[in-house]
Symmetry: C2
Subunit: 231 residues, 2 copies
């Protein structure tokens, strides 16, 4: 049940929220949490890679990948290429981000995979990978039959959005989990860092909502740009 | 982009998961957490009302309300009445559940409304209430014009599902938050209670996914039941 309004304005909101979200998470880890590092004696700097890569990679670039059919006004083939390349980047950054969390745990002797956040995160990255491979094989190369493609497309959209919403929820859960650890170690519950982290999580959810809203509304006509350039 | 499969089998999964979810949360609070109470010297018993009422009320009954058009085979008017009554029950139980959380905080001198879970929870209950009132006025009594109804319906569905998904995510965040508090007070990270709470959260998410899947697939024909009774 698509809504009968153009998607383009919603996609502008997505781009704007993407920039704000990236700034928020960078301010958090660089200003409040001491920065990021791949190797460090202060193991927290390794952890800090995790929220940055997951938010900017999996959520923000993944969201831009999802809306590429609604945000761009080029030919479908070009949009498809952008869709799959952005999703590949999101997936790779997501994998590195998850690896950083394990690396931090292992070098700090913290238990792995006991929390809901970790369970959901592993599920998301596996499902995201399956969705990408299946989409690549069916819609790009070698490509399924027309009948199989048209039968699969609604499932591709529905399953893709499910995985994405789960990714957004997992991110929100992660922000809450990290903040709860910090607050139990003495961070002020109403302090500026706590507010920043909560606002980043809220912004992540609103970002996800505008991604879904973009997908649920009307795509711009193909080649709108070249068309208006002729007129 | 609805998927071309009948919704009815998905709705059976929703009912089954509803029962399992209700059992899980009751086992948690009654067996592991010492039970529930409205007035008690052990304030934790007041808190325990919160997950029970939110999961069984807002999430489970709310989910059943959402799928009523797909799960039932009666006339549309009957389904609409069931839809709005179940949502009213979900909303009332949700409000009592949120009140129980504040009551526990206030009687235990715990700060209110600092966490992401609380922020999202308040947003959900307010949006849920607005959605219910707007739906009642527009689609039930006094009812809008036909043009307004048909223009509003896709937004009603989209906004309703957004609020519901946000409610499911907030519930998952709540399970993680409570478990993180318990684990920082010494609860075993891989113990049976921790696994039960995590599985309840995962089940809540799968329940939400099957609610969405039911809504995204094909409704049974109206009056299927009476029709087949005639044949």
């Amino acid at each position: 049940m698509a809504i009968a309004v153009p998607a383009l304005p919603f996609t502008f909101v997505v781009h704007a929220l993407a920039v704000i979200g990236a700034v928020f998470v960078l301010v958090w880890v660089l200003h409040f949490r001491g920065g990021i590092a791949w190797e460090a004696t202060n193991k927290s700097l390794i952890f800090n890679l995790h929220p940055v890569l997951m938010l900017i990679g999996l959520i923000i670039i993944g969201g831009e990948a999802i809306i590429s059919y609604k945000a761009l006004i080029w030919r479908k083939e070009v949009k498809k290429l952008i869709h799959l390349v952005l999703h590949a980047i999101a997936l790779i950054l997501g994998c590195i981000g998850i690896y950083a969390a394990f690396k931090y745990h292992n070098e700090s002797s913290i238990a792995n995979l006991y929390s809901l956040h970790s369970w959901l995160g592993i599920s998301v990255i596996v499902l995201y990978g399956i969705q990408w491979i299946y989409g690549f094989l069916l819609f790009f190369y070698p490509g399924g039959t027309d009948a199989l493609r048209s039968a699969s497309l609604p499932w591709h959209v529905l399953f893709g959005l499910f995985v994405y919403v789960l990714a957004v929820a997992t991110a929100a859960i992660g922000f809450l989990e990290k903040l709860t650890f910090l607050e139990s170690s003495g961070l002020a519950k109403y302090g500026s860092e706590a507010l920043l982290v909560n606002f980043t999580a809220v912004l992540t959810i609103i970002y996800g909502a505008f991604v879904i809203l973009s997908v649920s509304s009307q795509a711009p006509a193909e080649d709108d740009y070249s068309y208006s350039a002729i007129e």
